[in-house]
Structures are given as structure tokens and as C-alpha cells.
């Protein structure tokens, strides 16, 4: 296993130290409870926005804490959802009297741990906590009888947009509705050229032949839905974009598009992918109004990419354009 780490036990902790040392002007870390907090939390009168999940997806979530985005992030072990104690500590630290909103990616572990935190918080403290679940991954069958779709790339866009709404002073109910709207209007799909290696596991999560790729991959190195022969950027873009367009009607609205790298894919290739995604959407009459190209929701060192498309409107675009100042996303400030 080739990694720049000290010991596998301390990967998350060591990295949090680095994050705080590098971005101490924006965030602080509560090491006892393992929570990344906005430097100036709690903001009185503002809804506190809390997210979290397994580590290994950096910059998400800890890198999205700061002005105009999250108030707190709860990092679990690598690819393991955080525990309720973290979320309860986060809720308390960010509660500015206007309630707290949890943004939860739809994984059994994340949902159950956030649920337990909310139950325990309701019992112990008086803070009003609401949750919105992101489930945007069209690679996964959506059904009442399964765990449902995974939460993937759309989480980044939701944290930015709902974060801007919270910064603007919108109240908890309005933000719950906003988050649900974003979830309803966004879809994603990803693929991997290589596996990643969970530090504690010490070997690659899956084996891929030299001429193979996984299409419909998750962000935890869960094997994808389908193994295929390597293909060109153009064909890969089609494999990702077409299922998204087939799932939701994107015509008639401007779109916020993200071409995301899984951690091991160079920017050179992500821009090639963006070019292809842009052309395919153009052919379908879909116009990209805003974009993000880069590594925003990763799977350790996995090589691969995902595409997220969010149907926008004036309000969403306004919130997208609002200033954001976090370690991982920064504009207008």
C-alpha cells in the first residue's frame, strides 16, 4: 500500500490537524468530538448547517466548512459514517438559536447514525434538528425495497446552495424545502478506472483488469453496477450523461454541471471530460449555466470521474453565485 500516512489508525486525525493548521483562519477542529467547525460558530440567528460522512472524500465535507457553506462537518473513519456523538457535538456547537439542518448522504450507515443523533438530541437538548437525505446516484436502482440511491456528487452542490441560503438568513423550514428541491432536481453518475485502497484494509477494494473499468461506481470503492472494457472519454461521457438525462427531464432549465475527479484523475483529463459532457448536453439542447471541474468528492486515490447535473432556476443560480469562503471552495470573498 503506497500512501503518505503515518499509521493507519491516525489517518483521519493527522489529516484534521493539517486542515486546521492550513486553514485556521476559516475553521477550527474539536478533536475530542471529531468535528470540523466554522471558525466563528455558532452564528446567532442563523440556521446551523451540519454534514458529515466517512473520510476519504476530501475536500468533502471538512473542506466545505466556512462562510456560505457548512457550519460543521463530522468526519468518520475512512469510508465509515461518523457516530452520533459527533453529530450531537456539532449540533450543539453550531446552534445559533435558529435550529440545525443535517445534510445526510443516503447510505444505511449515515442515515442510521444521523437518525440516532437526532433522536438523542431531541431527547437531551431543545435544539430543533431537521434532516435532508441526498440520493442522486442514477447508477443505483431506486426502490422502496432496497437501500435506495446513494448520495454522491449532488451533495457538494447542495451544501453550497443551502449554505448560501442559511448565510442569507433563510429559516429552517425554508432551507429544508430548498434542500429537497435541490435533491429532486439533481442527478449523478460515476465511473472508475482503478480501485482505491482503504488504509486499514491495506489492499485495493476491487481488482480491475488492465483493460477494464467500473461504470456506476460509488464513492467508497463499492464495485460499480457494471464492468466494461476501457473506452474513450467521449464514450465514457455518454455512459454517464445519458442515464442522467434519461432519469430526469433537463430541457428548458439552465444547468449547474460538475465534472468531478475521484482523487487520482489529473485535471488534464477532467477538462477533456468536461469538453465531452458539454458537447453531449449541447446536442440535447441542455445549457450549462455554471460549472465545477475538479476533485470535490473523491474516493481516496481512485482514478475515475463522475458527472452531476442540477436543474437550476434564478434562485438556485443566485445562491450558487453567492460568496463562499471555505478551504475547498472559494469565490466572491
Amino acid at each position: 500500500m503506497k500512501k503518505l500516512i503515518n499509521d493507519v489508525e491516525n489517518v483521519v486525525l493527522d489529516s484534521l490537524h493539517g486542515l486546521e493548521l492550513a486553514h485556521g483562519d476559516l475553521v477550527r477542529v474539536d478533536y475530542e468530538n471529531r468535528v470540523v467547525l466554522r471558525k466563528d460558530a455558532p452564528k446567532q440567528g442563523k440556521v446551523g448547517l451540519v454534514s458529515g460522512g466517512g473520510s476519504g472524500h476530501e475536500p468533502m465535507h471538512g473542506g466545505f466548512v466556512g462562510m456560505g457553506m457548512l457550519d460543521a462537518a463530522c468526519p468518520g473513519e475512512v469510508f465509515t459514517s461518523p457516530v452520533p456523538d459527533q453529530m450531537m457535538a456539532a449540533d450543539e456547537a453550531v446552534n445559533g438559536g435558529a435550529g440545525v439542518l443535517h445534510i445526510v448522504k443516503n447510505y444505511t450507515g449515515d442515515v442510521m447514525n444521523f437518525d440516532m443523533a437526532a433522536e438523542m438530541a431531541a431527547a437531551e437538548s431543545g435544539v430543533r434538528v431537521e434532516s435532508v437525505v441526498v440520493d442522486d446516484d442514477v447508477a443505483v436502482q431506486d426502490s422502496l425495497y432496497t437501500a435506495g440511491r446513494r448520495g454522491v456528487g449532488l451533495t457538494v452542490l447542495m451544501e453550497k446552495i443551502v449554505g448560501a441560503g442559511a448565510e442569507a438568513g433563510r429559516d429552517l423550514d425554508t432551507l429544508v424545502a430548498l434542500a429537497k428541491k435541490v435533491n429532486g432536481q439533481g442527478r449523478s453518475m460515476g465511473m472508475a478506472l482503478t480501485s482505491c485502497t482503504v488504509p486499514a484494509a491495506g489492499k485495493p477494494t476491487f481488482d480491475l483488469g488492465e483493460d477494464e473499468m467500473e461504470v456506476g461506481i460509488g464513492i467508497h470503492g463499492e464495485p460499480g453496477r457494471e464492468r466494461r472494457k476501457l473506452a474513450s472519454a467521449r464514450e465514457v461521457a455518454e455512459m454517464l450523461v445519458e442515464p442522467i438525462l434519461g432519469d430526469l427531464d433537463y430541457t428548458g432549465s439552465p444547468v449547474i454541471a460538475m465534472v468531478n475527479g475521484m482523487g487520482g484523475t489529473p485535471l488534464l483529463e477532467l477538462f477533456i471530460m468536461y469538453n465531452e459532457v458539454y458537447r453531449i448536453l449541447e446536442k440535447h439542447g441542455v445549457t450549462i449555466a455554471r460549472n465545477l471541474v475538479g476533485n470535490y468528492i473523491t474516493s481516496l486515490e481512485m482514478a475515475g470521474t463522475s458527472v452531476t447535473l442540477l436543474k437550476a432556476d434564478d434562485d438556485l443560480l443566485k445562491l450558487w453565485d453567492a460568496p463562499v469562503l471555505t478551504p475547498g471552495l472559494r469565490w466572491g470573498a
Binding site: E77, V83, M112, N113, M116, V198, T205
Partner: protein, 206 residues
């Protein structure tokens, strides 16, 4: 009839913790095939914390098990943390006061644990989860009569059968469900650790 007290519970939990530790790489490997390669390290982290609890500080078995459950909730994370945590919390709450305990009282407690898991995870038998190894264990225990040791043996075998039966299944809950048909042919990691738990019980609570 056996005797319920914190020392007995400690023996069980310590045995389970060492089983999980010794099998952590195997559990993680099972999770690598149809999940995200962390079930062994998750549960090992949690059970090490549980094993580090000082049995002598608990007034009774119920308090001990409640603390074990909370410790798992607070240290494991993932899907298995809340599920295992809930299991021990519910078992602790459902057990009678310390002292002599009958087979049917054990069965009631474990059934309460199972119910907790089902309420939290909403999985049914056949969904390829830990429920597939725990449900037949509880049923077999209850059907085995008054001899606690024999009941635990029956539960352990039934659990192992339930675990083995997960191999051909297509997962409908948890991370393995994302694989669809590709999840068939692999043994469920959570069902595998549950069988270790029941086997530990058979060794230490019988």
C-alpha cells in the same frame, strides 16, 4: 438455568471481542467483495473499546450491556455501529435482574435485540444482512427447550446456516444492494460477524 451477572457478560463480550479481532481481516475481505472493505476494522475498533470497559464498575448486567451498546454506537460508525449498538442496548433492557436466568428469558432478550435491529435497519430475512444470521438463531434458541447450553448450541448452528444461506442471495439492504445481481455469490459480512457473536455466547453463556 444459568447465572446472570457482570462477570458472565464480561466473559462473553471479551470472547466476542477476541473473535472479531482475530477475524477482522476476513470480515473486511468479505466486505471488500460486496461493500467498502471496513466491516472488520469497524467492529474491531468498537469491540476493543467494549472489551476495555471495566466489568467491576457496573452495578448489574443490564447497565453493563447498555454501556456496551452505547460504546459501539459511539465508536463503530457505519451501518454496523447503530445496529450492533441497538442490539446490545435492547438485550440489556430486556434481560431480567441479575441472578438465575432461564432459557426463555435469554430468548426474550435476544429477540428484543433482533427487533431493535429490524426496527432500525428495516431488513427482512432474505435481504442478505445480519438479520439473516440472527433471526434463525433466535428461533432455534426458543425451540431448543430449557437447557440453556443446548439452546446456545442450537442457536449457533442455526446462525451459521443462516450466514451460509446469504451466499446466493441478491442483497436488498445495505451497501451490497448497490451491486444488484453482482452481490450474489458472496457471504454477507454482517451475517458473518453475527455468527461469531452467537458462537461466543454458546461458548460463554451456556
Amino acid at each position: 438455568m444459568t447465572d446472570l451477572n457482570p462477570e458472565v457478560i464480561h466473559t462473553w463480550l471479551a470472547d466476542f471481542a477476541s473473535q472479531v479481532h482475530d477475524n477482522a481481516a476476513w470480515l473486511t475481505d468479505l466486505d471488500r467483495a460486496i461493500g467498502d472493505a471496513d466491516h472488520g476494522s469497524n467492529l474491531d475498533r468498537g469491540m476493543r473499546a467494549v472489551a476495555a470497559l471495566d466489568a467491576s464498575t457496573f452495578s448489574d448486567s443490564a447497565a453493563y450491556l447498555k454501556k456496551a451498546g452505547m460504546t459501539l454506537v459511539s465508536t463503530v460508525g457505519g451501518a454496523s455501529g447503530p445496529l450492533y449498538g441497538t442490539f446490545f442496548l435492547r438485550v440489556g433492557a430486556a434481560l431480567p435482574a441479575d441472578g438465575p436466568i432461564t432459557a426463555s428469558q435469554w430468548a426474550d432478550a435476544f429477540e428484543a435485540g433482533l427487533t431493535g435491529i429490524v426496527q432500525r435497519g428495516r431488513a427482512e430475512v432474505g435481504d442478505k444482512t445480519m438479520v439473516d444470521a440472527l433471526t434463525p438463531a433466535v428461533t432455534a434458541f426458543r425451540g431448543a427447550g430449557d437447557n440453556v447450553a443446548a439452546a446456545w448450541q442450537a442457536a449457533a448452528s442455526a446462525s451459521a446456516e443462516g450466514r451460509d444461506a446469504t451466499v446466493p442471495l441478491v442483497a436488498r439492504k445495505g451497501r451490497a444492494s448497490y451491486l444488484g445481481e453482482r452481490s450474489a455469490g458472496h457471504q454477507d459480512p454482517g451475517a458473518s460477524s453475527v455468527t461469531l457473536l452467537i458462537e461466543s455466547a454458546a461458548r460463554t453463556l451456556g
